[in-house]
Structure formats: structure tokens, C-alpha cells
Symmetry: D2
Subunit: 396 residues, 4 copies
């Protein structure tokens, strides 16, 4: 197939040329004497991405799932109770992982399309006078439904209940794209992955852990070795790793962190909001609906879009991929066949969003969905045009 | 600036990943014993791109301008007369080059926006009873105006006049994108460049030369050494080169020729036509005009689009580049400031064209040009949708 | 520092250009409809590397340590007994991992420089009439000491004792470089890593698991989720993965498996033996000693070389790295400061080995070690010359 | 064939990873508004490589041969007389090029293995009272024989004769590797190429031209267009080019110039001298002879080594390439079959030189040449060791 393909799934995201080049290097010795000159400042700069002073960053060679596992096995013991909301495939999977590790999960189900029900959390925490709940789990951005939750709200719920439970946040598809404030929100463990806002290939779970969570390790009885914070702490402090690290990915991480800090986190978040809103304007112009039930749940990194009845989103996605080289995200679990997702995160700009929207319109037309060609793209263009004036003045 | 940039100038074109990888190799010895196993089949396959049995292909490390120089210095002598039409910046420059090499050029001026005036050529050739005209020059695709000329028609004019002059064609922005038939059209020298339909970086002039033109060399008195066919013929026959060749570019050429032949030339040309027509539909929807004055001149590789009076195309192009990372082609020479050009050739697909059109609409809106956002993109989508059904059936 | 650096640690190894190019690709959708066309044949071909018909291959995004963890957590329960020999840093670490996961390890200590004491294993297994030992661990190649063990011998010990314990082999620094026969040797789980004989960057643990070991999963009580075989089995069978796989590494794996199979495993092993022997000839010419105490323990992938008393191998390694860009392997744990290691595995040839030996001689001279410059290189050259005749005839 | 191949021809040279990465970028617009921000400083920094204040640098998309052509066509007229020495294949070819362009060349033949015979030049220039000689040609480094000439001496000969002829220097295989002082030596045109000391792929001729030579253009009657300085001057001053430049090569040039300036030219030259001397020590240890007849002609970028009678250097080179992946330089023209050349220029270090020498020894042994394995490598190691102390102190 001729031409550049379009990757608009909610991760892995497009890897910038600069990051690709940073990774395309000959292999190197993970025990080289000058490696700490590279790794130690990187660990420091990663803290800036998490907006933390006190947290410690860990890099595990794994997917985000491994990050979830690291979070619980280093802090909890079999039978410990955790509070978690379930409102999409990824919040579901983290709960499943907890259960398989022998934790007791108090599950709060919400509709798919809503986010963490902060009010219910608040009630549960207040009711838990004995502090049986050891950790509260919250998925900041549910990738399956395109829903962003209110993490600051979860913190307020904990604080108001004066509850000592740890706060664990799945930020895999939000951190580095949507505002995330480790210290301000009192997050104890944040789990991110290389392949979303960090604009890298998959292969690294990136965690940030509070001193409070680190202190739990000594009493945490869940078995762990590969994901043990202790081995990392012991070797990372000198700039090394307990086992062979994927150094080319970490070289790439240096480049992506540089890019994020050079652009500035505020601008990165603003860019994601502006581009995400462009997609939402297009969806509205098509007279379609997002999964996200209310504006307050709208995710700036991914939109899950409901197809009209009678259309199969899997067929649409296959057609987009095979005919036009456009990768859209599938509907997962109970959304399968009913929604398609447009990932709008990472190394993204107006040109790319317009290519995704234009090609999606073409695909919708080909599939017989009733939309007016150009309507969604036009709405996004108008949004970009109208919100771009301030940017324009600054840029030229 | 975040995200993938859009390169929509009429060359250099986007280099496919496959070609990039083929070029990103360690340097090698240009006298390696196994180099001929690589070069000799490549020369053969290049002939297929020119649609020739009898022609010989030459690869000069130079731009297309060097290819023009090679064409004339190997065949002509100071004072020789050539017939050439001038209707754009590139047809102008080839004429200038001829003059600087001491040739007498009979110039036929046409309006910028028209192509080779075949009828006038026919008259001139018929009138040239003494056959003073040694060569006829024709630019198949005038990149400055987006105009494609009728090369078969020029051949007919020569044949009808029973004129023995050589036929030289500038196919830099057409060959490998628009149909070109070396043998069928009796072309004596065709000049192409690496950075257009061949989807490579600049750096190679690719010529195809008929036996008749090769035979001219012995009497051609123009000085030449770097561009001498004779040195190439002597060394190429064994698979080598007279001086250090840019082997990594030639490795990339192998990949691009493979891509062209795998897709099939007919399909490559059809794809360019379909995508080019999508751009033209957008221009029409914007109520704008192409430079190309008539449908028969429409180029499938580049569209030169006239901005309404009162707008500066240079400002538009700067804005597109700086704000959105979109490269559009400038208006050249007397078209400067008045037109912008969209290159739609090489490694291109619907997704890319829609990104260019969408972003161009955004740029037009930002510049205050009166268009309806989405109108051009929508027209292109409709064109792609309606012409895509047959393709769809074949592809799935 | 000018020039190509020399990477001669026992992993990560040099990544071939072909593999680098295979990995340097834009990101792609891990749920793309055509992904199984890529992954399913790869899983099949990986079985050829393990020389197995019945085994199933797993790819975990992790280091080799993660592979060890996967092996035990999918098959064993807390308190289960395993038999393991300890004779170097890596055999030590696997034992440590088992203990941290709550297993009872019957440790057989051997001298560092020896391999698995097959005779003692045989005795222990015969003595274990109740079959308390659920698994036997064996490190095929102890990377810290450059010692290769006799895995077929361990199998014989099991068979002679008619013992049903599983046989787990750490083949991280042997598989794809030194002969390894999964089926013939009755190995139940083999753990390999991407960054050694597979010539990839770190980031993938590559396991091969026998049906017998897979059957253990249902009763295995160790907690697992990230490393659960079951999730992989469920998704791999359709060509997908349970969580985001590092697809660019897996694209590289396709290239490295192709290279291994094109060269032929027998030739790969013979090449490693020939090159490793060249290194050993050099060491002998320097009048130095290997850690490996006897010829039968000699590793074809890494040589650990003892420095004469009074010299600090860490200083030597730092000097080699800083002055000449040569990476040698450190002495680990109790060998620290006393030995340096030359890795001679992966994408390696005579030219590279001679560069390592020549530069090592230069480093030894600079450090004041008494050797004759050229002696080791000369011995290796003679070995390569004398053993090369047969190869020569075949190759030309 | 497994492993890294060894490229030790006298160009193209090994392209550093940093340069490869700089070139492996998406194509870009050669008329982009910000291009001058890149090109103008590059032109300035290139002047530092030529050690000139007054000279102007030109970048032609061509091989070095094109650079020779540019030098003469921009300054001379048909029938003009030039003085040139011939003592190797490349000095021969430049003379041939002059003749084909209609110049009258006064040829001074010297033995192959000697350099420019400065004394004879001095006589000829003194004798030329009428100043018929318009230009003096000198090849600073004859790549075919490994001979470096005394350019300062040629300048003295001109000065002593008070002769106004231009001084043209072929520095293709010397500039950026061996000291070259444009201004101090009063060179009028220096011709370099991208694929030697500039460590890039072939494809760029890099010229530096004095104001005096530039002033010749207005009376120079040789035809030129592609290689016309005037078009370059007109467009380069604003940071652009008269025709499509090979921008990815020029991006690479930025990286290589940075590398040269960061290392420092003095250190670059010293490194080449030290490494070249290592090769010469090895040749002496093998009891072989260089083509270069005296120490004063020794080239620090290439050694042409005479094989003993009865051996065919072409067979040796083929064997080295096919069996070991080592590329050595052929003997050219009358040296064919008799010599092989080791290129030791560009991105080179001790480790690489030792790999070339070690593998060459292996090849010599395989071919039956009587040398002691390790002797040459040992001699080079001793040289590097003994001359490295001062460097060592500085580096650590």
C-alpha cells in the first residue's frame, strides 16, 4: 500500500522521528562506567513529568500491566482489601489482576461511559472505619470508553474520610498527555507506559511511587522479584539496574522527555485538549455520540464513538486498515462491534487529526453510514481556526 | 513542533519507510566483487520504468539539471539548433542551460498554464527543410504550473514532418508517476530525477537514452567529462561506475523500483490520477482556479492553484509551514506570490491527500480567504468514495 | 570518541544491521487484522530454534529474570522444593528468585568455574524417593564464569532416577548460540532472552515450555498475572497478545530468526565454537587462565579471564572503555576486580574477534600486564587460518 | 555472513552513527523559510575545515570528479595551459578531464610512489615568463599510491617565480584528515568530497574557492551551467540553492562538521597520523613495502602495500571480502594485481585499525604469503601503546 499509514489508536502512539533516531543506536554495555551520567538525570527529569518532588520513578521492562502488578505486589499482602471502580475494559483488567494476586477487591461498578464515581468512593471510605481498605484504585483515563476521571476528587474523598489508604492511579493513557499532579493530588503510585504519552514503543512500565508507598514494602507479603522495588532502589541510586535494562528504549525515553519538557507540560496538555476537542466537534457534526456520557468525562487522549445501529464497527475498522492504511481502535469487550475509537494523543498535530477525520469520513461513506462528507473535518477546522489565533500570535 | 509534518511540494517527495531503510546502511565498497550482482539487474529493471527495450539507463550523481546537461552535451555541438517551448520556470531553465552551452534555441513561447504547443512544433519542423534543428525539447510536466504536455503528439509532429531531430523529454516530475512510453513515443533522451516519482532523496539524475542518441556522441563537440555517457557505458556494462557512485541512494533506488514494479506501473499512474483528481475537486469546491488552463493540461503530479486577488501566496505558505508543519510549493518566477502548489506525487494515498487538503483549508481560513471549511475535503472524499468501489472489490 | 566502538560483553550483543532496520519502523496496531499473518509463523519458527516439536514458545516483555519468574510461577506452589546448583552469579540469582517466591531450594554449591555437578544431581534425585523435588534447575551457560553445563547429563540423571521433576534450563546466554535440544533433552522450560544469541536489544524473555510443564499450571498456586501462560495461550493462538506487545522488538525477532535459520543452527553453533576457541588460544598465548576450570566447561559464548595478581580488572575495563571504546565484561560478585570477560556470541565473525583481542592486548600493555603484543592475536589468527580451509573451499 | 563488515578502502569511509542518524530524516522542502538558519552557518563552519577566511565554499551534488570539472570550467577557457603532475591514477584522471575540456596540459610525469615534483614545478614556472600557465594542479593525496604531496612547497614555487597562476588542489582524500591550509598556502581552489574525511556517503563535491579564482569566472569561456559558481553564489547567499540540493546529505554534513570541530582539526590530523603510522609499522613487521617511496611521501589516509612477487592482490582482496567481510582497496591501473590498499581515514580508531590489520594477516596467511601471524598487529599495538601515554593522561 502506498503512502504513510495513519495510526490513530489510543496507543501505541506515533513515535516521533527524534525518538526513533534516539533508539536506533548500536547496543551498549548496561554496566558502562558513564551510564550513570545518562540515567541519573533522566530519573530526575521523569519526576517533572509526574509533577512530583518526593516520588521515586521506576522503569520496568514490561507493559503497563506489569506496572499494575508492581504497584500491588510491592505494597500489599494476600487478603488485603482494595477499593476499585469498574467502568471499562482496563479498569476491569486491573481489578482482575488484583484478584489473581489474592487481594479482596471491593468493586464499584459504574456505567461504561462514566468515570470513577467519586461520591460512592467517598461513602465507602467513610464507612470503612477500621481502615480495612489498604489501597484505592483509580483509572485516570479509561482507554476503552474515552473517559477521564477526577483524581483530585478521589484524593478529596480520602482526605475527607481521613482515610490512610494508598491511592493508586492507572495513568497509562493519560500521563504526559493530560494533567497529572502526583504530589498535589497525593497519589501514592502512578502507573504509566512508554507507548502512550511518552511516544515510545511498548516495553517500559514507568511508575512513580510516593515515600508512603515505598515504606509499605517491608510488610507487603505478596511475592515479587522481577517487579521488586527494592532491587531497583538498590541499583538505580548508582545509575544502574538489577537486570539488563532495555537501554535503547531508555535512550528513546530521554528524547521523549526532552521533547515534553521543551514544549512544556502545560502546552502539551493544552495541545491535547485542543486536538481532542477538534475530534469531538467532528463527531457532533456527524450526529454521532461518544461513549463518554457527559462533557466532564470527555477524554483528551481518546474518543470512543458509537456507530449507528445496524453498522459493525469491526467491519469499519478492517476496511479503514486494509483500504486506506488507517488504524482506528476497536471496541473492546461489550463495546465490540459497536464503537470505534480515535486515539488523539502523543506526537500529534492538526494535520494528523485532519487526516484521521477526513479518512474516517471516507470510511463512513464507504460503509454507508449517513454523514455529509466534509462536515466533521470542517467542524474541526473551524475549531482549530478559531482557537488558533492566540497561538498564532505567539508562534510567529 | 509536535507531530508528523506534511510534505506536499512537487518534489522532493515523501521517501517511503522501505526506501529509507534500504538507504540507511553502512557504506560499502564501490568496487566490491559482488556489486554487479546488484547493479546489473537494477539497470534492467529501470528500463521497465521507462517502458523501453532499446534504451540505456544512466545514473548520474546530480540533480535533474545535471540530467539536462548530460542530455545535450553528449549529443550536440556548439551552435546546434534546438527547438523548445517555454511555458513555465522549468522549461525556461532548460532553455537557459542550452544557451549557456552555446546552443541556438528556437524558443516557442506559450502562456504559463498551457503545455507544449504541438501544432506550432509541427509547423516549425515542417518548415525546417534543411534539418537545422538537431533536437526538440519537451517538458512532459511543467512543475511550476502543473501542466502536462502531450509527448506522443510531439512525436507525431516529428514523424509527420519526417524530421530526424532527436526528441528530448524532461520527465523529472512525471516519470514513474504519469504514463511515459520511451519506445512507443520514440523519445531519444528522457531525464528523470530521484526525488519525484522515484521517491528518493535528491542526488541522482536518471536518464534513458535511445541508441540513436548514443550514436550522436562521436560527433558531439560540446565538452563533457563528468556527464560523459562514454565513461558510464564502459564501466556500467560490468556493473561498476567511472567514479564513486552514491551507493546508498542506489540501494534506495532498488527498493523504489521494486515498489513501483510490485504495485504495477498502470496502477501507479491510476493512483496518481485518482489522487490528483481529488485535489482538483477540492480546488473547484473552493471556487479557485488552477494555473492549468484546460482539462487536457491537468497534471496528475502537481496542482498550481491561484489565490484570489489580494492574497499573498508566500504568506500563506509560510503560515502553513510555521504553524502547521505543512510544506506547500511556492509560486515560481512570475507566479510568485500568486499561486501555491500542492504536490501529489510519489508515495501517496488518500489519507495523505486529505491531510493536505484539510490543513490547506485551515490555512486558507486563517489567512482570511473565503472558503467553507470542509468543502474541498468533502469533495475529495466524495470523489474517492465514488471511484473507490471497484478498487474496494479488488482489494478485499 | 572517533570510530566504531567494540561491544564484547556477554550480552547485550551486537544487533545486526538487518535487525536494526527491521525494528526501526513506525509503530503499528497490536490488534491489526493482518498481525496474525506475521505472528503465527514466527511462533512456529521459534520452535525450530529450540529444536522442539511439542514445546510452546512464549514472548514476555521483560528481561531474562522475568523469564525465570514466569517459569516457576506458572508451575509451582509455595513451599515446593526445587533442586538447583550454584556456581556463579546467574545461577545464584535464579535461586534467590525462587526463594523470594516462597520455594524451598535444595542448593548444590559448586566451585565458580565448574558447571552443574551432574553426579550430585543424580544422587539427590535418586535419594528423593518421595519426589518432593518438583523441579530441577540448571543453568546451561553461566555467564559470570564462562562455564557451559551438560544439560543432556541432567536429563540422564533424571531418567536414571526415574524422577518426574520438571527440568528448567536457563539458556539465556546459550540458546541460539550453543546447541540446545528441547525435545531430545526433555527440557520442560527453557528461558532465553532477546539480547544474546537472538541478537536483539533487551526487552523480551523468550520461553519454550513443554506440554508437561503447561499441564502444571492448573495446580500451581504461586500468584501470577503478568507472566501467566494462560493469558498468552488464549490470545497467542489467534496471533495476538494479552497486553500491548513490544511489536518493534518482535519485528526484529523475525529478522534475527530468519538470519539464524538462513545460516543454519549447526553452522551458527560451529561458528561460535570456532570463534570462542580463537579467544581461548589467545588467552593461552598470553599465559593467562580462564575461570572455567576444565576444557569440558569451556563456554563458546563467553570467556572469563583471570588477571594476574596485582591487577585490577575494573581499572582495565574502565581504561578499555574510555580510551578505546571497547566494552569488556566485568567480574561479578566475588570475581569482581579479578576477572574480565570477553563475550563472543551473537552476530560475530573473525574480524570482530580480532578487533577485540588486538585492543585487549593494547589495554593489557597499557595496564602493565606482561604479555607480548601480537601473541594472542597471532594465536587466534593461526587457529582461524588452520580451521578455515574447509570453510574456504565451501564458501568460494 | 555474520558480523560487522570491515570497510578499509580509502573511501567511501565508514559513516559514523551520528551522521547516519542525521541523514535518516524525512524529506524536507528545499525552499522552506527556515532553511537558511541551517545552511548559512554550515557554509561558515565549512570554511573552518578549509582553514580559510576569504574562501567561499560550494556544495555540488556530484562526485569529486564533478568538483574537478567545476574548478576548471569556472576559471579557464579552451586552449588555456595548465601545469600538472602525474604520478597515480587520480592525478592522471584530473589531467584527462582537463584535456577533454580543451585545455592544454603541461604534464610532469613522476614515478608512481612519488608526489608532486616541486622542484620541476619551480623550474617550469620560472621558465614561463609569459605566464601562459593559467593554473597549477596538485593532488595533495594520491589515493592510488598512498602518497601525500607538499602543497606549501608548490605555493613557494609559485611565489618564488612570482607567477600569477591559480593553484588548484585535489584534496579529495586529504581534506578533513590531513592538514590543509587554504589561506596560508594560497590555494585558489580546493576540491574535497563527502565520502572521505567528511565521513559521509558519496554525493557531494565540496569546493573552496579564493576570491582570485572567483574573479576569473567573468572571462572563463569554458561552458558550464550545472557546475556554475555564479548560480550558487546568487542563491547560496540567502541560504538556498539553484537546483534541488541533496538535503539529507547536507544534514549529515552538518553532523560531520560538528564532529570534526568538536574533536578539533589538530587532533583529527594527529589521530590520522598516529593510526596511519600504526599501519606502516605493521607493514614493516610483515617485511613488505609501501608504494610510497620515501617517508616524506607517506600518506596518513591510505597505505598502498606491495604484495611479494607471485601473489595476486586481486585474489587477496576477493578472498578478504568474501570470506571475512573485509573490504581492502584494489591496486588501480598499472598497480592492479600488485598492491592492495588499506584506507585509514575518517571515523577511525585503534580498535578498527587492529581489526583491519589482524584480518589482513589472516588473509595473508590464507593466501600463503610468508608472514608471522600477530607480527604486524603487535607492532601496531606497540606503537599505539607507546604513543598513547600522553593521550591517556589527558583523557582520564
Amino acid at each position: 500500500m502506498a503512502g504513510i499509514r495513519g495510526l490513530f489508536i489510543p496507543g501505541p502512539t506515533n513515535v516521533p522521528e527524534r525518538v526513533r533516531r534516539a533508539m536506533d543506536v548500536p547496543m551498549e554495555d548496561q554496566r558502562a562506567p558513564d551510564l550513570p551520567d545518562f540515567t541519573l538525570p533522566l530519573f530526575q527529569d521523569l519526576k517533572r513529568i509526574f509533577q512530583t518532588q518526593e516520588g521515586q520513578v521506576f522503569l520496568f521492562p514490561s507493559s503497563g500491566t506489569g506496572g499494575w502488578e508492581a504497584a500491588i505486589t510491592n505494597t500489599l499482602s494476600p487478603g488485603d482489601k482494595v477499593l476499585a471502580a469498574r467502568f471499562g475494559q482496563f479498569s476491569h483488567l486491573w481489578i482482575d489482576l488484583c484478584q489473581r494476586h489474592g487481594l479482596e477487591v471491593e468493586i464499584v461498578d459504574a456505567e461504561w461511559g462514566e468515570g470513577v464515581p467519586v461520591e460512592i468512593y467517598a461513602e465507602k471510605l467513610k464507612a470503612d472505619r477500621d481502615h480495612k481498605i489498604k489501597a484505592v484504585l483509580a483509572c485516570q483515563n479509561e482507554t476503552a470508553t474515552g473517559v477521564t476521571s477526577d483524581i483530585a476528587g478521589v484524593r478529596r474523598a480520602l482526605d475527607e474520610a481521613k482515610h490512610p489508604a494508598l491511592l493508586f492511579v492507572d495513568g497509562v493513557s493519560s500521563i504526559a498527555s493530560i494533567d497529572f499532579k502526583m504530589d498535589e493530588w497525593g497519589v501514592d503510585i502512578a502507573v504509566a507506559g512508554s507507548q502512550k504519552g511518552f511516544m515510545l514503543p511498548p516495553g517500559l512500565a514507568i511508575l512513580c511511587v510516593s515515600p508512603k508507598a515505598l515504606a509499605m514494602a517491608k510488610d507487603a507479603k505478596l511475592h515479587r522479584c522481577y517487579f521488586d522495588f527494592a532491587d531497583m532502589i538498590r541499583t538505580n541510586k548508582d545509575g544502574f539496574f538489577p537486570y539488563t535494562p532495555p537501554l535503547n528504549l531508555i535512550r528513546g525515553l530521554r528524547a521523549s522527555v526532552d521533547m515534553l519538557l521543551e514544549e512544556g507540560l502545560e502546552k502539551v496538555f493544552a495541545r491535547h485538549h485542543r486536538l481532542g476537542e477538534g475530534v469531538r466537534r467532528a463527531v457532533a457534526a456527524w450526529n454521532m455520540k461518544l461513549c463518554a456520557k457527559e462533557k466532564r468525562w470527555h477524554s483528551d487522549t481518546v474518543s470512543a464513538i458509537q456507530l449507528p445501529d445496524g453498522f459493525d464497527s469491526n467491519a469499519l475498522i478492517r476496511h479503514a486498515y486494509r483500504r486506506y492504511g488507517l488504524s482506528l481502535g476497536m471496541g473492546l469487550a461489550k463495546l465490540n462491534g459497536k464503537v470505534f475509537r480515535i486515539g488523539h494523543l502523543g506526537d500529534l498535530n492538526e494535520l494528523m487529526v485532519l487526516s484521521a477525520l477526513g479518512t474516517t469520513e471516507l470510511v463512513l461513506r464507504d460503509q454507508g453510514v449517513s454523514i455529509k462528507a466534509g462536515s466533521g473535518v470542517g467542524a474541526a477546522i473551524e475549531h482549530f481556526h478559531q482557537t488558533g489565533t492566540a497561538l498564532a500570535v505567539a508562534a510567529e
